[in-house]
């Protein structure tokens, strides 16, 4: 972690009084926003329930919320294969839903981790040296490929195990991280660099005390974007032999026309992605408090 010596200090002009009212207002807005979200969600669920209840849409296309909930519960518990049967099975495809999710999260973590570990140094190199000119077309090429197009190739190269899936996620993740790093490096303000240089900073010192901290906000945004990409790629990665895996489960359930399970998996994917993104946003806030304040 690179840290700046002088952290931005909050303005001290505010009196304790005004700060308290400010906090109260903020809390009120947050509550209001929560209420809006809650109301819209309730309206959505009600609309969903009504549409299915009145028989406007057949359950194959849109099952009622209760069915989706049942599928979700079934997928997370040991349950008999049919009512009255004494054969008990575990979750779906012998894994609980949370295990499917965890397996996908592992792949995403490794893919994103690898992409970040390689993307940042490469981006720094490309942003500061002639390497950028040479490699940028390749990076753009890689970035624009749809993952479904080359998963077959990766399977031939790396087999159907986790390796090919992680490669796919890695290839989806590393270009945006590298691009974000490059744009971060290129966006460092010249006058700041000149300022530290005129104060006698060496090249290395300029890098660690100006370039890196100034690049970090962009890099973190890049990681967030890339993690989003990883989620969109995970179903493609898990189409072949993707059990356990939440994307593989969604795909398999779709093949078997089990719409409630498909929707349950999709909801889990979406919620997990939002949760992860919120976590990263939080991390961003605490890691680069100087963002937008330079």
């Amino acid at each position: 972690m690179v840290q700046l010596e002088g952290r931005p200090v909050p303005p001290t002009t505010a009196t304790p009084e005004s700060r308290r009212t400010e906090r109260a207002t903020r809390r009120r807005t947050r509550l209001q926003r929560l209420a809006v979200h809650g109301a819209s969600l309730a309206a959505l669920l009600l609309g969903w329930w009504l549409v299915t209840r009145t028989g406007l849409v057949r359950p194959l296309y849109l099952p009622p919320p209760a069915d989706v909930w049942d599928a979700f519960v079934r997928a997370n518990t040991d349950h008999p294969i049919s009512p009255g049967s004494d054969r008990i099975v575990r979750g779906e495809q012998n894994y609980y839903l949370w295990e499917h999710l965890l397996a996908s999260l592992q792949r995403i973590a490794i893919g994103v981790g690898g992409g970040v570990l390689l993307g940042i140094p490469l981006g720094l190199l490309m942003g500061t040296t002639w390497l950028g000119v040479v490699l940028e077309p390749y990076l753009n090429f890689l970035r624009s490929l749809p993952p479904l197009a080359y998963i077959g190739l990766l399977i031939v190269w790396f087999g159907i195990g986790d390796t090919s899936k992680i490669w796919l996620l890695f290839l989806a993740v590393f270009p945006p991280v590298a691009m974000a790093t490059i744009s971060g490096v290129r966006g460092v303000r010249e006058d700041q660099l000149n300022a530290v240089r005129s104060l006698g900073a060496s090249r290395r010192q300029a890098l660690t005390s100006v370039v890196l901290p100034a690049t970090l906000p962009e890099v973190l945004t890049g990681i967030r974007v890339a993690t989003g990409f990883a989620w969109t790629t995970v179903v493609a990665a898990e189409i072949a032999n993707g059990i356990p895996g939440i994307g593989g489960l969604a795909y398999l359930a779709g093949e078997q026309l089990r719409t409630p399970l498909v929707i349950a998996s999709i909801l889990v994917i979406g919620l997990a992605a939002i949760a992860l993104d919120l976590g990263l946003k939080h991390l961003e806030k605490s890691l680069v408090p100087w963002r937008g304040k330079a």
């Binding site: 012998n94 999260l105 031939v156 032999n241």
Partner: protein
Amino acid sequence: MKTRLKQSAAALAVTTLTLALTGCVESGRSSATNETDAAQASDCPWEADDSITTTARIAWQAIPNADVVVKDLGLLEACMPNAEISWVQAASGGDVVKYYGSGDVDLGLMGSSPATIASSEPVVRDVDLAVVWIHDVIGEAESLVVRDPEVIDLAGLEGGRIGVPFSSTAHYSLLQALAEEGLDPATDVEVINLDPEKMPGAWQGDQIDAAWVWDPVQSQLLEDGGTRILSSADTAEAGRPTFDVGTADRTFVAENPEFMAQWAKAQDHAVGLIQDDPATAAESVAVVLGIDPADAEKQFAGLSYLRAQEQVDYLSRSFPKDLLTTAGFLLDQGGIEAVGTPEQYAEHVDAGPARSAVGG
């Protein structure tokens, strides 16, 4: 102070996440090793062979036949306790061929069309398989369902649009039926490539007039008001049968005859179970396919299953010829580059394992 607190909170969050993610979810868990269901981890119905230490990777598909019964009952694991067996799910026969190509599997289930592709140029250069078992002969399990109740035969579909997954056994059956009827698939009807799970949508949207497909989509279309006018049983009767077959890498077969014997024995046992005790077999199928046991039992009727002796007869006599006819069809479709010699197809059929299971 506050920032430091936030930072340590973030660090803590990262650490917990990492810890959570390092605990691995192992892949390839089978239902038989499920501790909540120990009763199902069956004993070997015959004397288990401890001496086999083969590592075998088996590609399976969600088709209601003996293969998934063997998988669910853990017969291979029980009869060869020292062998290392892993099961890999494939979505189609084409996938299984791909897995062979990348060296990821030793055995695999596929339809007779992919098996023919694997035994013909150009794929035969990359994979070296033998058909060692006929898991099922496809009957009513794959059939032509039409939307319009007025249409009662294939001729009535002239000018219509028929959906079918290309390169599948259903595609083969459809084109055979069209040829039989004297209809040209290029001009008289429109045959489009459609994955089964996309058919109900196309059906609902009035975009297809008929589909040649298997379950669960077949049942769905019938429920949606479709009528079955032809099935693969009819094309089989006309001399163009389709199958789901068990294949194995030929080198693997040559190196592991004991394993293959046990494997064939297990398959034969499961076929016997389907024929004599369908309720038990249906339960296993239901577990693996995630469907209702009653539905699974109904699906048995759409396929026919062969015992070891019938397997030997079939594999050693007519099956190579079936591969050859299928190859002729696939050549027209552009699925292969050349039809091989009869000897070439005979070479890619091996009745040895089935023979060793006879009377066992």
